[in-house]
């Protein structure tokens, strides 16, 4: 019978106290796991979605809003920019590639983006089926769109005006699906791609909108929502945004900068939760310490008897340490599982398809948590173990 089995049997003989300790550790570790997974996934998504886009040019307004709408397809666009101004920028020598984006419609909550073949290159898109859009009203849909809406190549559907909801359906033209993308792991999984002209034509027939105001492009002037820009050289980083912001009526926003700003906003909440989790871990360490210390009072005879049967001081020390580590490591493993399950559940009930969180992604940092868990067990059981090591067995046995 080795140290481990003596320790686990002793823990099992007091399941309530062991359970409470495991639960406390699991709770703390669970929160940390969730934070770790969620923040790494969000960071990843931020990076993935804007990886090759150096700058977004759109109508004046909040730069964060411009990035959210044109990179992450979450917020409303800041407005429209005239096509001829956008074209002028696109031909600037500092610009390597400029891809137009015309937003405004959705299909069951998935945004329809009018763009050109530059978008394919920018996001390195691959087809799972069919081909890319070519003519007006042809669309290529992201993998998630195809799956959730049961779209196949050749299917027809109507777009609705606005970015969400389908109250105001454009019945005059139907889109036809010509291709479906392979899963890209970024925002393109959740959008419907077509050419800019389709978006314009969809709105040419003067419809009366809910707010009664005709859209700008309905007045004949060609406009787009924004321009996604890739620089020719790093030099442009300094010159180009300033040029746009100062000499045109448009604004330039950097996805990297705005993502970092966004992440630092989320970061405050993450920090708070992290400290909360650390607090729970400290409390659980104290709880492990107290229950080992208390159980020692009850078990001092057991331990003294083990000494009479030939167990050395070191063995008793190890038995107590093992009990502490067993508790915290079990708690840590349970916590890891809980964290993943909780995040999977959050992802399941999440409305936003763009920023869905998943519990099935594992990180290297999680293995460090197991190390931290055993460390907590070691520290919490050190004092009780020292006491078991130093106990005067003759005195304990004489106290019959």
């Amino acid at each position: 019978m080795n140290v481990l089995s003596i320790s686990t049997k002793s823990l099992r003989s007091n399941p309530l106290s062991a359970g409470l300790n495991i639960l406390l550790i699991a709770f703390g570790v669970g929160i940390i796991t969730m934070l770790l997974l969620a923040s790494s996934q969000i960071e990843n998504k931020l990076d993935n979605n804007s990886k090759d886009i150096d700058l977004v040019v759109g109508a004046k307004g909040s730069p964060l809003q411009l990035i959210l709408s044109s990179i992450f397809y979450i917020d409303f666009p800041t407005g429209n920019i005239p096509l001829k101004d956008a074209d002028a920028l696109a031909h600037n020598p500092l610009v390597k590639m400029a891809v137009p984006l015309a937003l405004g419609d959705n299909y069951n909550g998935f945004r329809i983006a009018g763009t050109n073949s530059g978008f394919i290159k920018l996001y390195d898109l691959k087809l799972a089926k069919g081909q890319f859009w070519k003519n007006d009203f042809e669309v290529t849909v992201g993998s998630v769109v195809a799956e959730s809406q049961h779209l196949k190549v050749g299917d027809h559907f109507f777009g609705a005006h606005g970015l969400t909801g389908n109250g105001d359906i454009h019945k005059s033209h139907a889109y036809i699906v010509t291709g479906i993308l392979t899963p890209q792991g970024n925002v393109t999984d959740n959008i419907v791609l077509t050419n800019v002209a389709s978006v314009w034509k969809m709105h040419e027939t003067k419809e009366v909108h809910a707010n009664g105001k005709p859209e700008a492009y309905e007045n004949g002037e060609r406009e787009i929502t924004s321009l996604l820009i890739q620089y020719r050289s790093p030099m442009s980083v300094v010159l180009f945004p300033r040029m746009v912001n100062q000499s045109t009526s448009m604004q330039a926003a950097s996805p990297a900068l705005e993502s970092a700003r966004l992440f630092s906003l989320i970061g405050v909440g993450v920090d708070t939760l992290q400290w909360f989790a650390v607090l729970i871990m400290v409390i659980s360490a104290i709880s492990v310490f107290v229950s080992l210390y208390n159980s020692l009072k009850e078990r001092k005879y057991d331990l003294a008897i083990m000494r009479t049967m030939g167990a050395s001081r070191i063995k008793l020390f190890l038995i107590i340490i093992t009990e502490g580590i067993c508790l915290t490591v079990t708690g840590t493993v349970v916590g890891l599982v809980l964290g993943h399950l909780a995040l999977q559940m959050i992802g399941h009930y999440q409305d936003s398809t763009q920023a869905k969180l998943s519990g099935s992604i594992f990180l290297v940092q999680e293995t460090y948590l197991i190390g931290v868990g055993s460390g907590i067990g070691l520290i919490a059981s050190l004092l009780p173990a020292m006491q078991a090591y130093r106990s005067n067995i003759s005195r304990i046995l004489a106290q019959n």
């Binding site: 003989s13 057991d302 008897i305 046995l397």
Partner: protein, 208 residues
């Protein structure tokens, strides 16, 4: 086999206990008599390496036990001495069989289920094999603690007031078992007691 020479123990800094020299041969059965508080338990602990005396020497099988290192002494005790206490302290988280397995493995001996079954049957508690200590009566517990003391066939069985918390019937049974198990294993038996019921069974006495 066991020799104690000019043993003295000082406790609470001023109270001094002096013990007469004592020689015990292999296989002998002895009673260690004395009133409560006379120092029986102290002497028993000194003789088994649990309590280092202030003066004097304990020699078991030619080994002066207090010259061994702590770990060696623990090992020696586990292998050669079986204990029976007034209260049968079994490890609460282990069942009867596991308590005996623990005795074998802590002594560094091979686990033998056959030997365990043999001992439990001899003490007629084999039907309680898989019960936990909390489920047994005092008499049954004391029998298990005897089983634990003899399972490794120790050279020396030390019993400290093994009968004082038992009724006449159980006390007689426990004494019978101790004597018969000691005889079977050829072990030396020392019973420290102030219980007059024991005097009828064992002749050799040492007065503390």
């Amino acid at each position: 086999m066991i020799n104690i020479r000019s043993l003295q123990h000082v406790y609470n800094k001023e109270q001094v206990l002096t013990f007469n020299d004592w020689t015990i041969n292999q296989g002998e059965h002895w009673l260690m008599l004395g009133d409560s508080g006379s120092g029986k338990t102290t002497l028993l602990h000194i003789m088994t390496g649990l309590l280092k005396p202030s003066l004097g020497e304990v020699v078991i099988n030619d080994a002066a036990i207090y010259r061994l290192s702590n770990t060696q002494l623990d090992h020696f005790r586990g292998k050669h001495i079986g204990f029976v206490f007034q209260r049968p302290h079994l490890v609460k988280s282990l069942n009867v069989v596991e308590n005996l397995i623990l005795a074998q493995s802590l002594a560094g001996l091979k686990i033998s289920r056959q030997r365990i079954d043999e001992v439990l049957t001899a003490l007629s508690i084999d039907d309680k094999k898989f019960n936990y200590p909390a489920e047994l009566s005092q008499g049954q517990l004391q029998r298990v603690s005897i089983a634990r003391a003899v399972v490794n066939k120790p050279a020396l069985i030390m019993a400290d007031e093994p009968t004082s918390s038992l009724d006449d019937k159980n006390a007689a049974a426990v004494l019978d078992l101790l004597v018969s198990q000691a005889e079977q294993g050829g072990s030396t038996l020392i019973i420290a007691t102030h219980d007059s019921r024991a005097k009828a069974r064992i002749e050799k006495t040492y007065l503390v």
